[in-house]
Symmetry: C3
Subunit: 338 residues, 3 copies
């Protein structure tokens, strides 16, 4: 499976991009990120076309980056605007620029043909910036391929085993997994009946019904609506807890992993943000990461389906995503060669 | 040279295998080792067929291993016996299991076609468990390919140079190397006349005759009978010191190296075991390992014979082993493709 | 671009080669360097032809090296002169020997066909040992390919950016680059008009004219004559400061980097040597190395011209060198296949 390029990926948290030049590798491409003087975020190739120096080692003059090696300057569209050595600027003296949008409290980058970059195809995560909610964000950079993480997130039955004790517990036998599609999105509904209540939520009876409504978007943006009720409650109408896991591919064995958790209380409490992030990151780092890294090592860069895995009913969501991804990537490849 | 699969290899010392799940890579295959409730040792593939998680990260329920990732359970024959997600078990929902025998104080594993695994082809190391003898064992895991170690062990003339001062000294000019075969075993008799006495054995005159009778078995099990006498003694009838070096291939640049030394005194003295092991491991780690690692680097994964080495008379044993190995591997390959 | 073999490379500083056996990899070949009893330097392949042990782990007996592994002895021409195991010496029981010359205060090695090694083709660096001058030497071993360093040295316009503040400053707009050839040498004259005076040289007005006359020799020996005068001075007739940068290829991502600085004062002051070396090495390590290493990573072993770089006027020298190198390498390849 190649990467899909013609889609929006999350590149960063807005707070992490400022006037400091910052390098981030996405889909194996080195990207330079910085904030222009008026505040908009710039993403250009982090590789000078002259001698391939990382522009991120350079200096910002206004919105123009000066390469540290020989002083060529590039504007925020990637065009060379100053060549101090004779000041002739060849037409190909430029670096790629990437469409960027700041939306829903995230920085989105379009890695494919810029002509296709329409901001209205950014997935709707508007709840993240709703004035009635507050979203805490975290970022980690683990060493496994993005699809190993996506498989993990779309099959929550792993929670009873990998996260036993942390927040799930032993009801996967009484669960069902419903998969549907909505355009290019894949929707997985994972419902558990008579499950032990999650220890992290106070005020619940010992045994509950719970559901996870998971929406996957091709940019590897995965949102969750978690609902929990007493056994006689109505799951459908319960107010959801919302969280999102986003898996932007860095390279063959590395992923930019953005985790967020949204709450409808303590809206003015940044300490609550920190606590919420720390707890979730700790679970991922202590429980998911070692396992997913071990899986990445055992897969050794091979494609899952070529390894003829045993398929379980709970894989339905992940397999629907893989089929969708293969279709999108095939379409992209066909278009390129046409 | 590929690895030979249809042979018994030493996987571990029995004392190191217990109810803890343990991962060991042999011939590039990840193996899960543990002891069943009744005590027999189990060896199954350490890679769940569902998502390729290492089963060694899981938990033992009786003799059944539960995968830590999604909870599939596998019995000691490698068959899935519980799928908590719907409990349908596909026929290929199993991992390979490997025949294992505990014999002569060692754990033996058969890495090839299980149908060929006959315990009576395990090399006879019964002296190791003789009530009149005591064997001290050590294990190290150096970073060179197994055949570089085997070459080293079959050509003891290196002792005068690599181990000068440690236990041999300067008589390789007055030595002879006799090579013969016994079925698939190769036997090397290395005799030194008028050699300086080894410093580690008390009570010898300054100058001695000594012989090493080396038996190589295709599982890279190499046993030594060392005899030393005054110049007027009878080497043939002298009581031997016995030791064994076993080189189970881990991968292209790594070896499981089992060293043992057997004595006919101090039979109830575990401190003597520790001392004997420490001394021998120290010589290997300080003298052999740096050289063999450097050779592995300079060979860079190439086959010895393709590099057209200079051949010395003392290479006869190692070359007989290489011819034998090539024959065994060719036969195995022919059988597979037939 | 392959390496050119039929040329003289600098292997070491004479003071660093003594009776200790020393291993150095040049053009991917392991080389053993030592000084024979009468003082001449020996360079032979550092890989015993028997089992490929590094001879540099062995011992010197007179001018003969004994391999630490099995005791074969090789003379300074690379021929086996003692085989303690039967003492038959096969005709191919030898290692390559490499012509070596000690000249101009440097150790030169010829990596190609020894028949072509004529000492009179060593580049004339006789100024280095002139009794009226004193040359301070330094050696570092950075992790980038030699041609990335050569490009850096032949285009001094990088000084205004990468070394801003250290010793150049902001006049590349008022510079010219003149390129010519002299046999296989490429000569680059880089002149700056009305440049800020270099902070390291006392007694200059604030603004000066300066020139760098750079001579590149195919063994990647690059000498510099730096001249600086007040604006009304005569650059041509000014006494030069001389320095040299030499980039002997080690492997695909590693270079032996010899730096020297020659002065016409303080001829008997070794502390001045140390200070001069330290200052220059500090600039290279703090400013050039991080950039060149980053470029090496971004080029990922590809050839510069295949990456279709933007060409600037200041690249003229480096491009002339690349054309020359390609011609020399093509000629060498054609000769080999003829």
């Amino acid at each position: 499976m190649l990467f899909q390029r013609n889609t929006w990926y999350v590149a960063a948290h807005p707070k992490d991009i400022d006037r400091q030049l910052q390098r981030r590798i996405i889909l194996n491409d080195p990207i330079l990120l910085y904030r222009a003087e008026r505040g908009q975020i710039v993403a250009i190739e982090d590789r000078c076309p002259h001698r391939f120096a990382p522009l991120s080692r350079g200096t910002l003059f206004g919105d123009v980056v000066q390469c540290k090696y020989h002083g060529l300057r590039f504007d925020s569209s990637g065009h060379c605007v100053l060549n101090p050595h004779g000041n002739v600027i060849a037409p190909h003296n430029r670096v790629r620029s990437f469409p960027v949008e700041e939306r829903h409290g995230l920085v989105w980058i379009w890695m494919g043909n810029p002509e296709g970059a329409r901001a209205d195809t950014i997935p709707d995560l508007s709840y993240m910036t709703s004035p009635k909610l507050r979203t805490a964000h975290a970022y980690i950079n683990p060493e496994y391929r993005y699809d190993i993480l996506v498989d993990n997130l779309l099959d929550l039955s792993h929670g009873d085993y990998l996260h036993a004790g942390s927040f799930m517990g032993g009801a996967c036998e009484r669960s069902e997994t419903l998969v549907s599609e909505d355009g290019n999105d894949v929707i997985v509904n994972y419902i558990q009946w008579r499950a032990p209540a999650p220890p992290s939520i106070p005020g619940l009876p010992d045994t509950v019904n719970q559901s996870f409504k998971i929406r996957w978007h091709p940019g590897q943006v995965i949102t969750f609506e978690y609902r929990v009720t007493p056994l006689d409650g109505d799951l459908e109408s319960a107010a959801p807890f919302r969280f999102a896991h986003i898996a932007t591919p860095e390279g063959e064995h590395k992923t930019h992993y953005f985790i967020s958790f949204t709450r409808d209380y303590a809206l003015d409490d940044p300490e609550n943000d920190a606590r919420a992030s720390e707890q979730r990151v700790a679970v991922v780092e202590n429980e998911d990461n070692p396992m997913l890294r071990a899986v990445d090592v055992q897969m050794a860069g091979r494609e899952l389906m070529e390894m003829r895995p045993v398929i379980l009913p709970t894989d339905r969501g992940a397999l629907a995503v893989r089929r969708k991804m293969q279709k999108l990537i095939n379409a992209e490849t066909a278009k390129e060669s046409a």
